[in-house]
Every structure is written in structure tokens, then in C-alpha cells.
């Protein structure tokens, strides 16, 4: 109490400081308030709209089931990670463990990765459409969508893995090389295991992007509400939601889908927070 009084006292002489303090409070309150509003609104309005027929195995215009879309989302996440994670980790290993400092290739990889991370998803979508659907004559395919998203999250995986590898102390490398181990053994037995938490947090962020992505998938994986094969079309949850909204007939289902999407995002954030905590504990 005394402390607050003292602070108020000092603000009397410095009204400008008080104004600044207020502005910061308002801004922070707004930021958090909006988040709470969005999450709260969608959960409260959405949860009553959840009904068992929305989780029926087959989609039809009666039940407007989101089950195929949920399964597709999981499949899409797996497929994208299967492509992007090995490539991203491999590239990061090259940058951190092999490349010489200031090499041209490293600079080029950095610049291009930065560029990739700035490209809007609709441009990815069109690119995927032009490359996979048109040039390869695949049409709308699950694989095309997955490849497009894999390119999209590649810079994310690359950057987080790079940071994680850099954080592994050099003494581990010296110790391993000093025992006569080669680069590969050092990388796979010593360095990568130490970097796993960092890599996983990057992967989780990547999962979040895949789950929420719509624009890059509409014209690559398409919008068919069925569980597809690799070379046929299938919609993920986010695309499903867009389809519902653009048809304008299914507000109830749209609310329910929003709830499911939001819950997934909440889980992902909680997961990455948990891993970050584990990381700092070590």
C-alpha cells in the first residue's frame, strides 16, 4: 500500500509518465481481452452446437459431418511433417555442422528461407495449383496439398532446428570427435538427441500452421469432403469450415468446427509451452 502511494506521489510530478503507464495498461488489456473474447465467444457459443451426427464417419448434406475433415487434418499433418521435417532438419544440420562460416550457400539458404517464410499462403496455394494440379496434371490431390504445405512450413522447421543445434555446447562435439567418432555419429548420437526439445517445439508450431491453413489448400488439395487417397482430393478441417461458411447454410456446423479447431490450437499451444518449460529446466 505504501509503495503504491509513493508511486502515485511521484506521478503527480510526472503526469506524462502516468499517461504512458495508462496507455500500456490499456494496450495490454486490449490484447489479452480480445484473445479471451475470441476464445470465450467461440467456445461458449460453439460447444452447444456440437452434436453426435457431426462426427459421423461419412459426410452427407444431412449430417454435414466433420469427421472426414478431422481425419484428413490428421493425415495432412502427418504427411506434411513426413516431408518437411527430414528436409528441414537435414538443411539445419548442414548449416550448423558442416557449412563454413560466411559461405555463399549458407547466405543463399538463409535469404531464401526468409523469403519463403514471408510469402502469403494464397501465393503458395496458387503455386501448388500451377505446379501440381496443372503442370503435373494431377488435378486436386492430397499429395499436392501436402507438398505445398511442406514447402510452406520448411523455413519454420529449418530455423527452429538451427537454433536448437546451435544451442548444443561445442564441448559435446569436441568430446565426441576427441574419441575418434566421425561427423555422422557425433550428429546422430550426441548432437541431435540434445537438440530434440527445440526441434519438437518447431514441429509443434508447424503442426499449428498446417491445421489452420486454408488458402494454400483450397486449390491444391481441393474441397471434397471425403477421406482421400494420396492422389485424390480431400478437405481438412479449416477448409471444411470455409466451405461451410461460403455456402452460408450451415452456421451451426461452422460454430462446431470452429470449436474443434480452437481446441486443437489450444492443445498445441499448451504442448509447446510444456516443452519450452522442460527445455529451460535442463
Amino acid at each position: 500500500m505504501e509503495k503504491i502511494k509513493g508511486q502515485l506521489e511521484s506521478y503527480k510530478e510526472q503526469p506524462f509518465s502516468l499517461v504512458l503507464r495508462f496507455l500500456m495498461w490499456i494496450a495490454t488489456f486490449l490484447t489479452v481481452g480480445i484473445t479471451v473474447c475470441i476464445v470465450g465467444y467461440i467456445l461458449i457459443r460453439g460447444i452447444p452446437n456440437l452434436s453426435p451426427e457431426m462426427f459421423a464417419w461419412e459426410y452427407n448434406t444431412e449430417n454435414v459431418s466433420m469427421m472426414p475433415a478431422i481425419i484428413n487434418t490428421v493425415l495432412m499433418v502427418l504427411l506434411v511433417l513426413l516431408i518437411a521435417v527430414p528436409v528441414g532438419i537435414g538443411a539445419a544440420i548442414y548449416l550448423v555442422e558442416y557449412a563454413k562460416r560466411g559461405s555463399k550457400l549458407v547466405k543463399l539458404v538463409r535469404i531464401t528461407a526468409e523469403t519463403l517464410s514471408g510469402i502469403p499462403s494464397i501465393v503458395y496455394g496458387l503455386f501448388g495449383y500451377l505446379l501440381f494440379a496443372t503442370t503435373f496434371r494431377w488435378g486436386y490431390t492430397f499429395l499436392g496439398g501436402a507438398l505445398t504445405l511442406a514447402i510452406m512450413i520448411l523455413p519454420l522447421i529449418l530455423r527452429t532446428t538451427e537454433e536448437a543445434l546451435k544451442a548444443v555446447p561445442d564441448s559435446f562435439r569436441e568430446g565426441s570427435f576427441g574419441l575418434g567418432a566421425g561427423s555422422l555419429r557425433t550428429i546422430f548420437r550426441i548432437i541431435l538427441p540434445s537438440a530434440v526439445p527445440g526441434i519438437v517445439s518447431g514441429v509443434i508450431l508447424g503442426i499449428g500452421r498446417v491445421v489452420g491453413e486454408t488458402a494454400a489448400l483450397m486449390y491444391t488439395a481441393g474441397t471434397i469432403a471425403k477421406v482421400p487417397g494420396l492422389m485424390s482430393s480431400g478437405r481438412t478441417l479449416a477448409v471444411h469450415m470455409y466451405a461451410l461458411l461460403s455456402e452460408g447454410l450451415y452456421m451451426k456446423q461452422a460454430y462446431a468446427t470452429a470449436v474443434v479447431l480452437l481446441v486443437v490450437v489450444l492443445l498445441i499451444n499448451a504442448g509447446s509451452g510444456w516443452i519450452a518449460k522442460k527445455l529451460t529446466k535442463r
Binding site: 495490454t28 544440420i93 539458404v109 514471408g118 510469402i119 500451377l130 489452420g212
Partner: protein
């Protein structure tokens, strides 16, 4: 045998590193190769400065969309940046650790919410409010600006906060020691040191706002006309592509790809600015 394996794997790692280069090259080739011919056919001036978008009559002018993108982006910056700025200062320098553990995850959660969910929220909450306040459909430049302003908050806050934290504590302590209040010390001694970092965050936010598609499409109204005031509907470059790509053919389709090329070039320029700034603030 062992050496061979080491060598082969090294080559594999180099190849994976080259994937991102290949991706950028491919994207450039495909976008430009498919978009430039259409621009040439329509005529660069007719395309970029044409005020009418009438695909049925083969009239393709994307000026309304360019202006629309600029309007909603500017609106998002005007609404979002002040909030993000003050919030990031608070997060970096004023809030205590307990509070930070609640605030930071909230901001991170905000970054994780899918844009389609933002769009949905805008559609069912912000649009009706705007309808009551300003009349009309409620889908307007202003509505889109507000929603985008919210969406860029986590991006700008994240970059700004870390650049404020990167300023050496000695600046802050020096100012405090001269008898300045905490607020004065932070705003006049610390923030100048974080200037280019904060600016980089803003530019990153511009990039996100211009590139955002699914949220804008829900709340902007999407009329391909240059809006005369804030309450009028607007169509952005991104929504133009998504809305019509599904059924477009021939020149219409190519014109949409050309729209994406314009967007792509805009983003490349913005990214260049951003990385140049970040490099400067890194020094």
C-alpha cells in the same frame, strides 16, 4: 565404407539445404511465367491502373484491389501498431514475472488461432456490431481493418518485445540513475535503441496484413470497386484470387495469377525492407 557413408550423408544434407533455394526459384518461375504473359496481353497499365474488374467483359483492371489491399493494410497498421507497441513495451519492461506467465501465452495463443477462425469471429461478432454502428451491410474497409489490426498484434508484439529486450540494461539503469521515472527511462533511453527492431516488426505486420486472405474475405464485402469511405465494402488482392480461381478460365484465370504476381512482388519488397532493417538492428 565408413568414409563413403560420411560423404554420402554430407551430400544428402547439402541437398536438403538446397531445397529452400529450389523452392524459391520454382515459385518465382511459376508465378512469373504464368502471370507476366497475362499482364502483357492486358497491357501493364490497363492491368495495374484499370479501375474496372469485369471478367465477363474481359476487362481486367486491378487498381480497386491494389487500393483495397493498401486501405485495409493501412487501417490495420493504424489500429494494431499503437496497441502492439504499448503492449510490447509493457511485456518487455514493466510487467512482473507472474503476470508475464499469463500474458505471454495469451499472445502466443493469438498467433496460433487459424485465420479462418478469426474470419468467422469477425463475421459473427464484428460485422453485426458495425452494421448497427454504421449501417449498411457491416462488411467494410473499417471492419476488415479492425480484424486485421487484431490479427497482426502477435506478430508485431513478438518482434518488438524481443528487440526491446535486446537493448542493454545499462541504458535503462543509466537513465534511472539520473532520476528519471521508469516510464521516462524506458521510453526515452531504451526505445530509441530498439527503433529499427520495432520498425521491422511493423513491416512484418504489414506483410501479414497484405497477405491475409481467409479472414478478410469474410468481412470485407468483396466488391471490386474503389471504396469511397470507410463504411463501404472492399476487395483485396488476396480475396480476388480466392473468390474467382475456382471457376475462372483462360485470360480470366491468367489475370488472377497475375494478381498473385503483383501480390508476390509487393511481399518481396516488404520482406527485403524487413530483413535489411533486422540486419541493421542486429549490429
Amino acid at each position: 565404407m565408413k568414409e563413403a557413408r560420411e560423404f554420402i550423408m554430407k551430400c544428402v544434407f547439402i541437398l536438403t539445404a538446397c531445397v529452400s533455394i529450389a523452392a524459391v526459384v520454382l515459385i518465382c518461375i511459376f508465378m512469373f511465367a504464368n502471370g507476366i504473359p497475362a499482364i502483357a496481353k492486358i497491357g501493364p497499365l490497363n492491368f495495374l491502373l484499370g479501375e474496372k474488374w469485369k471478367p465477363m467483359n474481359n476487362i481486367f483492371g486491378i487498381l480497386p484491389m491494389i487500393v483495397g489491399s493498401i486501405y485495409v493494410t493501412a487501417g490495420a497498421i493504424i489500429i494494431g501498431v499503437p496497441i502492439a507497441f504499448f503492449a510490447s513495451v509493457y511485456l518487455a519492461k514493466f510487467c512482473n514475472e507472474k503476470l508475464y506467465k499469463i500474458l505471454k501465452p495469451a499472445v502466443e495463443l493469438m498467433a496460433g488461432i487459424p485465420s479462418i477462425v478469426y474470419g468467422f469471429f469477425g463475421l459473427v461478432v464484428i460485422v453485426p456490431i458495425m452494421q448497427k454502428l454504421m449501417g449498411g451491410s457491416g462488411k467494410s474497409v473499417l471492419t476488415a481493418s479492425i480484424l486485421l489490426g487484431i490479427m497482426i498484434l502477435p506478430t508485431v508484439i513478438g518482434v518488438a518485445e524481443s528487440s526491446i529486450r535486446a537493448v542493454p540494461d545499462s541504458y535503462y539503469e543509466g537513465a534511472l540513475a539520473l532520476g528519471a521515472t521508469r516510464e521516462r527511462s524506458v521510453f526515452f533511453a531504451v526505445l530509441p535503441g530498439a527503433k529499427s527492431g520495432i520498425l521491422a516488426g511493423v513491416i512484418l505486420g504489414i506483410g501479414r496484413a497484405i497477405g491475409e486472405t481467409m479472414a478478410v474475405i469474410m468481412v470485407a464485402g468483396n466488391q471490386p470497386v474503389i471504396p469511397g469511405n470507410l463504411a463501404m465494402g472492399v476487395r483485396t488482392l488476396t480475396s480476388n484470387i480466392v473468390m474467382e480461381m475456382g471457376y475462372a478460365t483462360d485470360l480470366h484465370r491468367e489475370a488472377l495469377i497475375a494478381t498473385a504476381v503483383v501480390l508476390f512482388v509487393l511481399i518481396l519488397i516488404i520482406n527485403l525492407c524487413c530483413s535489411a532493417l533486422q540486419r541493421r538492428s542486429g549490429q
